[in-house]
């Protein structure tokens, strides 16, 4: 019986000399959102791993930049790099995220990056 072969080096081979996330450039389908769009973060179920913070879920934010293309961390943590998508930098008002954030500082914001499949248009 032959041993099953897992290619444990596919990411290393792909990223060496190019960089990550640069090595996924051009692999994502066309971006569904553009800078300035208002979006809401979906509260998707995650099995064991996510990098979409609890505090952003259900909140509305504004896209400030399309940052790069990459598989989402939720897939990549299981070595699945097939579903490359656009990542967006989003700006959230503090008052949208936290209860009782002082009115005097209504301009305070949080900026963070979220992959496309978490976003829905508002």
């Amino acid at each position: 019986m032959s041993k099953p072969h897992y290619d444990r080096e596919h990411h290393v081979k792909k990223a060496t000399g190019i960089g990550d996330p640069q090595c996924f450039k051009g692999e994502a389908p066309a971006a569904r959102f553009k800078v300035g769009d208002k979006v809401r973060i979906k509260d998707l179920p995650d099995l064991f791993y996510t990098r979409t913070q609890g505090y952003t879920r259900g909140a509305e934010g504004t896209i400030s930049r399309l940052v790069y293309e990459s598989p989402p961390a939720e897939d990549e943590s299981w070595d699945n790099t097939e579903n490359v998508e656009w990542f967006y930098s989003l700006v959230f008002d503090m008052q949208e995220l936290w209860p009782n954030y002082p009115e005097a500082y209504a301009g305070d914001t949080v900026e963070t990056e979220i992959p496309e499949h978490y976003l829905e248009a508002v």
Partner: protein, 236 residues
């Protein structure tokens, strides 16, 4: 022989008398990896040497250059990785692994402050930090205390760092949760007119680059610390 003398006869306690579970785990995994041929002891030495000689000097240089050259500032904000090349940091090729580590991806964003907008960087989910250009993160940056409070009460936490911002300055907390790493490009302070790049780079300390401080003329990382007399000095 008094009891006091007896205490002095004890052998000195070792500096580290206990190895933590995580250290045991790290050593075990490392030795297994070397035995299995995944990497060699030389690879490991090269990597630790690389990691421990990094520091914030290149990022301070980047900020000083951006203050002096508006064209370079545009490059910084558009493409931090490209801008880093001018201060001697190649995010892809200077790493011993040739593409960053799994936790240090190759995307740098330079967050530009304005007189009415102040950025401060955190990683609420773990402790992501732009190590290739800023070195190892300070201990407080990794603590749950800083990570969970700065996104919720940024003004109070910055005040604890000694940075009290007026109401007309908006705070933007940048949570580095994916593959980008961030540094802050602060506003060039008053009183630095006509300064050279070297002079400017000196006042851009690590804390200014994380965003918990603002650069001030005369405040440098290598400045002299004040020496204060002891309150109850020992009388000889």
């Amino acid at each position: 022989m008094s009891s006091n003398d007896k205490e002095h006869l004890h052998p000195p306690a070792p500096v580290v008398d206990e190895v933590s579970d995580f250290e045991v785990l790290e050593i075990a995994v490392r030795e297994l990896a070397i035995e299995k041929g995944l990497f060699t002891q030389e690879d490991h030495n090269q990597w630790t040497d690389y990691m421990h000689t990094l520091g914030p000097a290149p990022a301070a240089r980047l900020v000083a250059k951006a203050w002096l050259d508006p064209e370079y500032k545009k490059v910084c904000v558009e493409d931090g990785v490209k801008a880093s090349l001018d201060v001697g940091i190649d995010w892809v090729n200077t790493m011993p692994t040739k593409f960053g580590t799994p936790s240090d991806y190759c995307n740098l964003r330079v967050m530009e402050d304005t007189p009415t907008l102040k950025h401060v960087v955190v990683c609420t989910l773990c402790s992501c930090y732009p190590r290739p250009i800023l070195g190892q993160s300070p201990e407080w940056y990794r603590t749950p205390n800083y990570r969970r409070r700065i996104v919720r009460w940024p003004r109070q936490v910055l005040a604890e760092f000694g940075l009290q911002l007026p109401e007309d300055v908006e705070i933007r907390v940048v949570d580095s949760n994916q593959k980008s790493r961030m540094i802050v490009l602060p506003v060039r302070p008053e009183g630095t007119e006509g300064w050279t790049e070297d002079q400017l780079a000196e006042i851009v300390t690590r804390d200014c680059l994380i965003g918990v401080a603002v650069p001030k003329p005369g405040v440098t990382a290598n400045g002299k610390r004040p020496v204060r007399p002891a309150v109850n000095p020992y009388k000889h």
